[in-house]
Symmetry: C2
Subunit: 208 residues, 2 copies
DNA sequence: TAGATTGTTAATCGATTAACAATC
DNA sequence: TAGATTGTTAATCGATTAACAATC
């Protein structure tokens, strides 16, 4: 079996890199130590050092990391130093909100086109054009914000057309070949975690 | 130090329960085995059994779990069997999209009011009313979809007014007392993970 | 040199999986 | 009874943390 993520860097770890990047983008200084980063982000100092070691070669004793180079290294590491074309399918409220998501620019994603069954404006294309469009424009990323009932159908079109990464905002677990990556944006799971954590904390407070 | 999540159930585990629930809501049968669930969701059978064991008491050899009871047990376990009041602050595109998020209903969250600096419609309230509103209506959850620059200020209002759970859609790491739970919805991290995974898979394919 | 900070190796911790006994 | 499935105890695996040597 192909092991997708190497170097013992786990999924969870990868989610930390954008956090580092966001932090680094908002500081002024030229150099920074792992301790400073860790303190600011409320993380373990050694963990930060280990993460950074995977993404960059530098890091000098006594002075720390050069902020400018570090940012560039993390960007390269994440593969966001080049532009990737993407489409959004499902141009309801969530699709519209995502269209303006500033993160796309930060991460080198360009929204090439949006698709929806209802042609709401001139810029919105029909799903029947989707497959050809993806192939013609060599799109690699698809963002899925359609109703659950249509999710698998659109997903199949994505796969047939050669898309390799799907950002799935529907609650449906998509059926895809192993070569396609699906990132499930599970808002429901996230919300449920918030509720559960809050309840548990309340319970603990009542107990103590 | 207070240990927030007990019973060796980790954060990651809690995100699986809504997935089980979603799955159970979409099947017809009366009974289901851990093996069936595991196969359908592409998970480990034993993991499913362990998860379910934490949420419910039943589970009968040979027949499996009663779907109806199992759903109820998971709902109780997640604390979504009662309604919680919430407010959304920041009524831009994302805020509007979230307002219609069907998950709120599923998880017993009622959006009591929305706030924005710009009074876009009659229903949108001004942030200066926020604190009093939260106190008067005993709101416990705040959903934060304002620009990053205003995030900490609104967060502080949340805390002062007694909100205990914040769903944070801004990229800012909020500063809160230990008694308040923040669930960061890190879209940027998620997107970056998708890009990274896709790149790695591509690299692996080229290599092999 | 002394002190600060990195990076690596070993230890710990926790989550997942495997093995298996219990039960219908 | 035999077979299927649960639930528990032990083993494995991987991620985080601790300890410490290396370096400026």
């Amino acid at each position: 079996m192909i092991k997708l993520l190497q170097n013992h860097t786990t999924v969870k770890a990868y989610e930390r890199y954008p956090v580092y990047l966001e932090y680094l983008n908002n500081i002024e200084c030229e150099n920074i130590s792992s301790k400073q980063i860790a303190t600011s982000l409320d993380m373990g100092e050694i963990l930060v050092r280990k993460d950074l070691a995977k993404a960059c070669k530098l890091g000098r004793p006594k002075t720390g990391y050069r902020v400018k180079e570090l940012k560039k290294d993390i960007q390269t590491f994440l593969g966001i130093n080049k532009t990737h074309e993407a489409v959004i399918v499902g141009y309801g409220k969530l699709g519209k909100a995502l269209y303006d998501f500033p993160g796309f620019k930060t991460f080198g994603i360009n929204i090439s086109a949006v698709f929806d069954i209802n042609k709401k404006t001139d810029d919105v294309k029909k799903p029947k054009e989707l497959k050809d469009y993806i192939i013609d424009h060599d799109i690699k990323f698809g963002i899925l914000t359609v109703p659950k009932a249509n999710a698998q159908d659109i997903c199949d079109l994505f796969v047939e057309a050669g898309i390799t990464g799907i950002w799935n905002f529907t609650p449906l677990r998509l059926n895809v070949p192993k070569s396609v990556i699906v990132q499930n944006e599970n808002l429901a799971a996230s919300l449920s975690l918030l509720i559960k954590s809050t309840n548990e904390k309340k319970a603990l407070r009542l107990k103590s």
